[in-house]
């Protein structure tokens, strides 16, 4: 057994929250630069210039990339040889979110009761934690601050198997078409196909953690991603919905087996401020 202190987890989460909200990943910046180089629409080029300038200002560490510093989605891979001491894992993560969002002057965007008084919890907790137990003696923590505008464009379809591949494509493209300018395009479209309703939605979000520009290891899924991206970019929505060639920077697909009666499709939309940071303890 390898021991990891709970407060070390809190400190790590706090640091990752601040870093993720100020430093956009090189893969996302490269995708935005590529879009700027190929975009035909003058209004869209202007938007992409603003976004690239924004990245430069934010990385000085004073202003977060976006005022919506997100819900703190935390993805944990806990090695089964790890023993956490001095507290429990979930409390340590929540404490880290509280510290990071407070010390880092990040916006607190969580309300306690969703359909009545909607009182702000004032420290951006609770985090949304997904934990997977894996072999080994390491603890990997990834933070994905997720904005409300793009998350609100998520969708689930419980398709029948007869809908087939075409049904999957139509549902996803239609979801992005309806979302229009709302989720801050150019977006990254996360797709989960198969499993149950909850698994499809989780895979859609998890797929967003794959770095932009890295290939999907499954050739059938890779072909689906390529076809979806082309169809989505043919919608013409463009950066911030003002018209253009770049509605999405990428589509990421994850699949999993499902019931003989089912074909769930989950879509999770990620805005261009695609913020992720990870650490391994």
């Amino acid at each position: 057994m390898r021991e990891i202190q709970a407060n070390q987890i809190s400190e790590t989460v706090a640091r990752l929250a601040i870093e993720a909200n100020h430093f956009l990943g090189d893969d996302v910046v490269a995708a935005l630069q590529q879009a700027r180089a190929t975009e035909e629409s003058p209004a869209a080029r202007d938007v992409l210039d603003q976004l690239l300038k924004n990245v430069e200002i934010a990385k000085q560490g004073t202003f977060p990339l976006c005022q919506d510093t997100g819900v703190a989605v935390i993805v944990v891979e806990l090695g089964q040889e790890v023993h956490i001491v001095g507290g429990n894992l979930n409390d340590a993560i929540h404490a880290g979110v509280k510290k990071g969002y407070t010390d880092g002057y990040l916006r607190k965007s969580m309300v306690a009761q969703p359909f009545s008084d909607r009182k702000n919890t004032k420290d951006n907790t609770p985090a949304m934690i997904h934990t997977d137990v894996v072999p080994g003696d390491k603890l990997k923590i990834t933070i994905m601050p997720k904005g409300g505008g793009c998350e609100n464009m998520s969708a689930l379809a419980m398709l029948t198997p007869s809908a087939g591949r075409k049904g999957v494509i139509d549902f996803i493209v239609n979801t992005i078409d309806k979302a229009g300018s709302n989720p801050c395009p150019p977006t990254i479209v996360g797709v989960g196909v198969g499993g149950s309703s909850d698994q499809a939605m989780w895979l859609a979000k998890k797929s967003l953690l794959r770095p932009l520009g890295s290939p999907n290891p499954d050739s059938e899924n890779a072909a689906l991603e390529k076809e979806l991206l082309e169809k989505i970019n043919n919608l013409g929505i463009g950066p911030m919905g003002l018209g253009g060639r770049t509605t999405s920077l990428a589509v990421h697909v994850l699949t999993t087996p499902c019931h003989i009666a089912s074909m769930p499709v989950g879509v999770n939309v990620q805005c261009h401020s695609a913020r992720y940071k990870e650490a391994v303890l």
Binding site: Q50, R118, K122
Partner: protein
């Protein structure tokens, strides 16, 4: 083009969907919770904490202000969530809205009826936009934190006209132009 606040029936008629505009002057800030409170106040026959006649409201909830800053990052939020409240505010003289994303048909109809304009700022360019804000002051609903009603002084605040008073729609125009079969 340059635009100064407050706006009038005449000044909004010069604005057309797709125009790039730089706004200088006072704009007000409010999002979901502040809109709910304002419309509830109007329903009770009360006056609003600020006079919105001829004014622009910016749908925004900033990140916290650090010591020595005017305001934190300050980009637009999705406007559609304010659709339920926007026609009521146009009825009492609101002339402009800044946000991002689609508006519902009743909002676009109200814009034609009351002569008001919907502008889009670049979503996610929040650090950049913040540089154009010279003063910020909480006017009401301080308990709402990031959702409080604020008054800003802005200089050359960059926006695009999405919906004008003539029924023009930059989102529809742009999409039509670049869609491929």
């Amino acid at each position: 083009m340059k635009l100064t606040t407050p706006l009038t029936d005449a000044s909004v008629q010069n604005l057309h969907a797709g125009d790039t505009v730089e706004i200088t002057g006072t704009i007000y800030v409010g999002r979901d919770a502040a809109h709910k409170k304002m419309v509830e106040a109007l329903d009770r026959g009360e006056k609003l904490p600020v006079d919105l006649n001829g004014q622009i409201i910016y749908y925004m909830g900033p990140s916290p202000t650090k010591p020595g800053q005017v305001i934190g990052s300050a980009g637009p939020t999705t406007s559609g969530r304010m659709d339920a409240y926007a026609p009521r505010l146009m009825e009492i003289g609101l002339k402009g809205m800044i946000g991002k994303g689609l508006r519902a048909a009743p909002v676009k109809d109200a814009m034609k009826k009351y002569k008001a304009v919907y502008f889009a700022a670049t979503g996610g360019a929040a650090a950049l936009i913040s540089q154009r804000i010279k003063k910020a002051q909480v006017m009401a609903y301080e308990d709402l934190g990031a959702e409080a009603l604020q008054k800003l002084e802005v200089e050359d605040f960059p926006v695009i006209v999405v919906n004008d008073v003539f029924g023009g729609d930059a989102y529809e125009d742009g999409k039509k132009k670049y869609a491929k079969k």
